[in-house]
């Protein structure tokens, strides 16, 4: 279905930019990406943690085969986790293609990635199947539509564990029912700067949504990036859950935009100064921690969103988020690095990226 041929192997895959980082989706200045995840299990096999390795091999074969025959995944790339090195698995985690659990590599687990990388299927994660649909910007309806269609296709040849009463049955009862986790990764620097974020997050949690950091459950909040998702999966239809996430996200976006307007009205110079100092630090640093990159990128992202001229495109800032993570960095350096070596290589990579963005745009800020 895709117009460009998909990646043929791991190296080819990681050379490409993840589509969710493209920075060109709707409301990309506020919402980095949208994700839909569906959890499914095969009726006849014990859940992953109770299944024997041979049974999991069987799931890999049958689910992988079913997906490769579907139009949603036609021409996709299948990777077995235990064929990959620890760094390669880490790279997939950082690209949000696999979870930490799938990334441990100790059991027969795998991932199938559609040619455009927007759809992926984790096999033998906590649940046998974790179907994931990613989109750049704020596109819940589109992301849901492709996940829903792929789910129907897989279901043509796979028997999913399902009960009329409790819906799709999952290893953990927190996912039973729809098995759906819909989430948006949203950038809220103005609400953080104006100290209004606690109030907003409290409101989000009160309506039954949950807030997490960049890398999902129990991950830290960095760079003013918040992942907001539905918490419950039973008693509400997928459509209801998605609509309520959509509604709340719009309210948060409005609050952030109002905060940005206020900030620009009352403290324009200070904001511009903060943005350009962040840019200067990243453009000329010689050693930098991943967290600092993400935090400085937050300021640059804000500057781009506010329309300050001369900054790099959003895509470049988005890519830095992922490329400066330890796995990507060690692949880039083709070596295992100590944390302090990583900081030096990371600084080099950031300078290169920003410098080439300046050359592309033909202007020096």
């Amino acid at each position: 279905m895709s117009h460009t041929p998909g990646p043929v192997n791991f190296d080819d895959l990681v050379l490409r930019t993840s589509p969710w980082l493209s920075g060109d989706g709707p409301h990309a200045d506020l919402v980095l990406s949208t994700r839909i995840r569906l959890a499914r299990n095969l009726e006849q096999v014990p859940f992953t943690h109770r299944a024997r390795d041979e049974q999991l091999q069987g799931v890999l074969a049958s689910a992988g085969g079913a997906a490769q025959r579907s139009t949603s995944f036609a021409g996709g790339l299948m990777l077995a986790m235990n064929d990959l090195s620890a760094v390669e698995r880490q790279v997939l985690v950082e690209r949000h293609l696999v979870s930490h659990e799938l990334g441990d590599g100790s059991r027969p687990r795998g991932i199938l990635v559609a040619p455009d990388e927007k759809l992926s299927l984790m096999i033998n994660e906590e649940d046998h199947l974790r179907l994931q649909s990613m989109a750049a910007g704020f596109q819940l309806a589109d992301a849901w539509a492709s996940a829903d269609a792929a789910d129907d296709e897989l279901n043509q040849s796979l028997d999913f564990a399902f009960s009329e009463e409790m819906g799709y049955l999952t290893a953990c009862p927190t996912n039973a029912g729809t098995g759906l986790r819909a989430s948006v990764l949203i950038h809220l620097p103005a609400l953080v700067l104006l100290d209004e974020i606690q109030k907003v997050l409290k409101g989000v949690m009160q309506v039954g949504l949950s807030v997490r950091g960049l890398y999902g459950e129990h991950s830290e909040v960095m760079g003013n990036l918040f992942q907001i998702s539905n918490q419950t999966t039973l008693g509400r239809s997928e459509r209801d859950s998605i609509e309520s996430l959509e509604r709340v996200t719009r309210q948060i976006m409005d609050a952030e935009e109002r905060a940005r307007d206020r900030m620009m009205r009352d403290a324009r110079v200070q904001i511009e100064d903060k943005v350009w100092r962040a840019y200067g630090t990243l453009r000329y640093c010689r050693s930098v921690h991943a967290r600092e990159v993400i935090n400085l990128c937050s300021a640059i992202r804000l500057g781009v969103a506010l329309g300050l001229p001369g900054l790099c495109p959003l895509r470049v800032v988005n890519e830095l988020l992922v490329l400066t993570q330890p796995g990507h960095l060690q692949r880039y350096a083709a070596a295992e690095l100590t944390p302090s070596e990583r900081n030096v290589i990371r600084a080099q990579l950031v300078r290169e990226r920003l410098s080439s963005a300046e050359h592309e745009s033909g202007s020096t800020p």
Binding site: D151, F160, A171, C172, E220, V221, T232, L234, R236, P339
Partner: protein, 175 residues
């Protein structure tokens, strides 16, 4: 910055936790992070569910608790006591085997125990359609509650159309 736990090594692992609606920063070295289990790879479900269950068994006597713990899934052999420890069920059949214990837990987690979402496409057209009608009845009721009569009328027409396609059997009335 030095590790907040050992105070010796540089802090390279940084967490910002959201707990009780408050952001808390924790900065530790990689070794202490590993030792304290401060990793994104830790299995959060386990603790969430264990906490929930702990709150619920308070109301049980210890002999009740022991009896419930011995309930076993006939298909995979999992004991309910083992689910209580791990927070994960063994197979699809466990949902039936432990249904009496699971219902209150599901209600705690989700505020509901009844699935209202999509049904497997393979369940056949009839089942899919009857589910769809059921769902529309739910929507209709909500639209009426919101006094959105225009939407309610649209939903009613949609129900009529679907019911015309399925002559028998009628789904139960949504209440």
């Amino acid at each position: 910055m030095l590790c907040q736990v050992c105070g010796k090594n540089p802090a390279t692992v940084h967490f910002t936790e959201i707990h009780d609606n408050k952001l808390t920063e924790i900065n530790v070295c990689e070794r202490c992070a590993e030792e304290k289990g401060l990793r994104a790879t830790s299995h959060p479900h386990k603790f969430d569910i264990a906490d929930l269950l702990a709150g619920m068994v308070d109301t049980m006597t210890s002999s009740d608790e022991e009896r419930v713990g011995r309930v076993q899934c006939p298909r995979c052999g999992m004991l309910y006591s083992s689910f209580r420890e791990t927070g994960r069920l063994g197979c699809a059949e466990c949902y039936s085997a432990f249904q009496f214990q699971l219902r209150p837990l599901l209600r705690r987690i989700h505020g509901d125990t009844r699935h209202r979402g999509k049904v497997p496409a393979r369940d056949g057209d009839g089942a899919v359609r009857s589910r769809q009608i059921q769902r529309l009845h739910d929507d209709l009721q909500r639209a009426v509650e919101r006094e959105d009569f225009e939407k309610a009328a649209g939903i009613r027409d949609e129900i009529k159309r679907l019911e015309a396609e399925t002559p028998a059997p009628r789904p139960e009335e949504a209440r």
